[in-house]
Symmetry: D2
Subunit: 403 residues, 4 copies
């Protein structure tokens, strides 16, 4: 770890101890008490504090707009933030999907687009969403995307139905990056484009908020949105027609590092609370920690988490050194490995907590639901495994035998 | 299957096709629309229809009060009801925890207790709860139970905190069977007693409703209840002081068959919808059903479910022929095997459904949360595995070698 | 269990206690001491004793030639024999591949073929092999079979290379049933035929004996055999040209029950010796049996074995009642489930035995190698899972939804 | 990787391509053809070639006697050698148990001991063994060790029975390091000592050679040895009475890195041959590589191996930087993770190879047996998991909560 990253890690750790963990219960109460779909005062306060503490926009590798950290430097910070996954990433202005959207705007946005959308996002004044997944098709295959982005004069008309659009529940969400087809007849990976659609554009309708395993994740939320011929200026198109797939690929790499490291942080915390719980809870005359199967669960969790972290850090390093494309296999691997490890570790903690584990008195059930969902987000495990196998098989078709 | 059981199975199947499945969405809407904690008119209508159809109280082996079916006859009916686990068991007056409580009253209740509580329960007029688990201790070890049932003159005074008391959210829940200690100084399994505590007894307070993986399961629900010196007549004690553990053991056997068969039914339905989904959903140019890993998932699910069902039916048969005590090992085994199988099968279905799978548009996420919870209810897997191993080891300590 | 089967089970159990187990070590010594590829005097003695005890040819459902037991009656006997898998099945004249070959001869053999081959097989005077698998192709796909059976006048000429031909190492092996193609241009499942080829036919050459995980399984063994234009009378063809696939299917059903039940018996014995070992072996001041993970291993083994046995018995019952074809899915399932369960159970026992477990001082390592091999014999798991999924998917393509 | 290590890796790779792989079959033939328990001329030739190529004693961190590489530098070289695990490590004079024994002599040997034993070992002229495990006790608990090392005048008398003493089958094995108790009444970890016992000492008897899963691993082998009052000069005691446990601990760290990296190399090769096999083998009209489950197997193997390697390299780095003691948890983790990963990867390859996979035509079955055995050698998984859990639990007993 560079000394800069180590220093930031110390400061984030201290900030979380001082401000995040002590406010988690109050956040839940604030959401439960008022209109679930309004931003909380608690997070707004935390944002101001984090910004004042210089812990702001750390995710952005671009040093003009953000911290300028490498993936390898930022990843451990992401792990720390993930320990309080509901509140901390937003407090540090490092939460999905805004991070990915800001990166897209830094890389592909015009100066005007940056002024209008990137700057308020960087300032934490507005939020954004990324509208790709559709209910009617298997969206893991991007060529299935049915939404249309059609040129009409100086505008594009956007038509389609999207769902599980995370973050769209928040009234501060002002801008959507929408993936759709500009040319369904083009070559497979040149059919799609991405376009900026302000949420207040006529024809953009939030149909409903969806829940995951019973959680609505308010005020962030996951929306079903209909784009009913929503018209935006032609200049809102990002990078050019047919470049949507390319943008999606570039966006995904760092996002996967972030998702995985946050999940590892969350699972580390689950393991910690499990260790403490079993040390004090007594059954059949001795602490649960004295049971061999509990100890085996702890050991398996430690092994899975350490391996998942090393693999994710390795992928981050590769992205920094050889680029996202060359690190494709590693990025696919962490997307399978880390959520799976997190899910198992959290599940073991739930089991150790008994009934409390499935309730909302501890963070575990919600954390599990989140980890489970990540096994589907950005492509299900099956798609990534297929990609890994393809690369692996390709290595050996022309080489020597050694049997 | 006996012809009587086969006939009942046909009629339940027909009833579910005609009345249950078509009303599931309406039930969800009714709960969502009004006061979540009121009984629904839909279920009340279904109850009347089921009763009229002669599909009522089928769970009760006692032929004076119920259907008089054996465990082996009832188990497959339970599987069918479990397919719509939120609504169907109650519609047939076969839902937990009422079934277990009614059995306790049939076996151990006085004529007066039967008149007051059993009859309205059998009529589906009131509901009941079973208050055993406590937040402060590992309740899988019954000797940890801290609630007290203290004799004071002609009354017992009940003091303690219980949680995850399922069914207590429903205003029709009028009676609790409470487990507590009458004599903490007695021999390990003679300390506990069970007592009938009407829910309107002064000192009985529902503190809050708990959720499991984000689901509140309204209007049934899972309550935290404080018994703050609640006083009931001494005649409310069941069977006698120090007999609580014994009643709990007798109560658990059939209940585990029911839980397991309902879960198997639920998982069967998950596998069915998975099969249909993958047959029509297309990715990368072919139905998901053409992917080898999807097929492997389906095959594994079929193998797990058939094995879990055969084992549960085997346990039911043993209970009918050699009794609950001799079938103890088998009852412990199904408690581990069936929820685990159901959880895995449902999880594979969720994966095949993608984002829809974690949402509430299909029944899978909620079904999974239920199956996961059953891995803790009535004792965590760990306790049952320990019991199985104990029996297994005992078989071999005095026998021949064959190495 | 019928009383006849129960009586046979008792007698087999007694026979194994009296004659089989006490002679296992001596058998190993006899094989090690002399020419590994000669029959042992010990097994010959056991055969005479078993025959005298009326425990002979129990496998054969045909009551003219054999015991006339149903699959359901025979299966538990098979489990008992499997406990000493190297020696016991042969002692009772119930060992593969002879059992399958005898069944083929009973069903499809001409009177002359029965006289020549079936009778000495039933008498335990000769042995036989079944030559299907080929080294050059994936033989799980029967259409890959490359061996040719070509009509030339009154003869057929057999040409091809087969391997893992079990039992061919024994000099008493006199007859092979060979699978090959008579008409490579016919419809997929009508290309193959089966033919009787005496092992002393010119052109039949045993190239070498193969080992599995280091075991040569002498004197039974697994041979690589070349059929170099071996010529046999045209009357040696079984059932008719193009009927090979059909015979193979009919032969496989009971054979899979046998394999699975024998493996379950073997794994039961592994669990028994594990239980005894951990009860007496001490580490860190207490018997291994006091370690929670060891207990969990025992419990998991018990659950897996009971489920595998119930499923196998269920498949046997189905074969008896609805026939091999209708029981196809169940037969595929046991082929995956039982070897996998046996393998896991034996592996846990190995782990509990430490270094002794991988040695030949206990039967575990060899038993494991056998169980592992059965996961490939008669088709790898993958083929069976695909078949199960196909049946499962077919059930749901035209039926109602229930989502 | 340092440039020195990278250069050595290139040269080892080239050496293996040129000399090792092409001679594997010939080695097997030479062992099979002659006296199994004699060194092969092939390996002797390879040793001379490797030494001439400067690829000799690379394991030794001590730069006076060996290559002076760090654990992190040597680990990847070890992975390469492990690809041909039977022959390559010895060819480079880097094979167990000699490497561990040489390290012990470098660290704790007197000048005279080094001259007599270390120098010929470094020259590859003799071999050695390490006699710790005993048949009568669970040797994973060092306090169980029953062998005695008793002072009598100027000698020590060594009495005990040891087994699975690897390398003792080779007639060049001249020296044993024996672990036994000098003072059974001392504190738990001060009872044991280690002593040098020449194999030709009167009273040292090789009772028999043991096999693992049917493999005798000749000419290296695994011996059962009786020390029947073998007398050696008192100066043969290493480091001092009661220091045996301490030496064992120091010896184990690097040895575990070596074992794990060799297994990873072996499994990498298994994955390679699997990829090639499935690319060419056809079933049901397409290469096995087109089957989704095969691809999933490949992807899982890649993920497991990359994680196991990263964890092992991490442990090696920690040993280099903070020392064996501080890296204890990581060393325990790799001992569980790497053999398990290797075992799974090799098992998948076996499955893909079908019958060939369990035979000796490919290296897989023997490689699997080796990986399985390593899950027991140097302590079974259970012991390591317990150690990991202990460290993990200790971290959290005094720290803050974050629930």
């Amino acid at each position: 770890m560079t000394s800069r990253a180590a220093d930031l890690a110390d400061r984030i750790r201290a900030f979380m101890d001082a401000h995040i963990y002590p406010n988690e219960a109050a956040f839940d109460r604030e959401v439960a008490a008022g209109d679930r779909w309004q931003p909380t005062s608690i997070v707004e306060t935390l944002k101001a504090q984090a910004r004042a503490a210089g812990l702001w926009n750390l995710f952005l590798p671009d040093s003009e707009y953000g911290a300028g950290l490498t993936n390898e430097e930022y990843a451990p910070l992401c792990e720390l933030m993930g320990r309080s996954h509901v509140m901390a990433p937003e407090a540090f202005n490092c939460s999905a999907p805004d991070t990915g959207n800001m990166e897209v705007l830094v890389r592909y946005g015009t100066p005007a687009q940056r002024r209008q959308w990137l700057e308020p996002l960087l300032a934490g004044e507005i939020r954004s969403c990324f509208a790709m997944t559709e209910p009617a098709v298997a969206s893991s295959d991007a060529t299935n995307i049915a939404a249309r982005i059609e040129r009409e004069g100086d505008s594009y008309k956007v038509t389609g139905r999207k769902w599980f659009i995370s973050g769209a529940g928040d009234p501060r969400c002002r801008i959507a990056i929408v993936m759709g087809k500009t040319d369904p007849g083009a070559e497979r990976h040149r059919q799609q484009s991405m376009i900026l659609v302000p949420m207040d554009t006529p024809g953009v309708k939030i149909i409903r908020m969806l829940s995951v395993f019973g959680y609505d994740d308010a005020p962030h939320g996951h929306a079903e949105i209909v784009f009913d011929g929503a018209r935006v200026p032609a200049t809102n198109l990002l990078l050019g027609e047919g470049r949507g797939f390319e943008i999606a690929q570039g966006r995904l790499g760092p996002g996967r590092i972030h998702h995985c490291m946050r999940l590892i942080g969350l699972a580390e915390r689950a393991l910690e609370v499990m260790c403490r719980r079993v040390s004090t809870r007594v059954a059949f005359g001795r602490p649960l920690a004295d049971q061999g199967t509990i100890r085996a669960d702890i050991a398996e969790s430690r092994m899975e988490l350490d391996q998942a972290r090393l693999l994710t850090m390795h992928a981050a390093r590769l992205m920094d050194t050889v680029g996202n494309k060359a690190a494709r296999k590693e990025i696919a691997m962490i997307k399978v490995v880390a959520p799976r490890a997190a899910q198992r570790v959290i599940d073991r903690a739930i089991q150790a907590f008994g009934a409390a584990g499935v309730s909302d008195d501890v963070f575990l059930a919600r954390a599990w639901a989140h980890a489970r969902t990540i096994r589907l987000a950005d492509g299900p495990d099956e798609v990534h495994r297929a990609a890994i196998a393809k690369t692996e098989l390709a290595k050996h078709t022309s080489s020597r035998a050694n049997v």
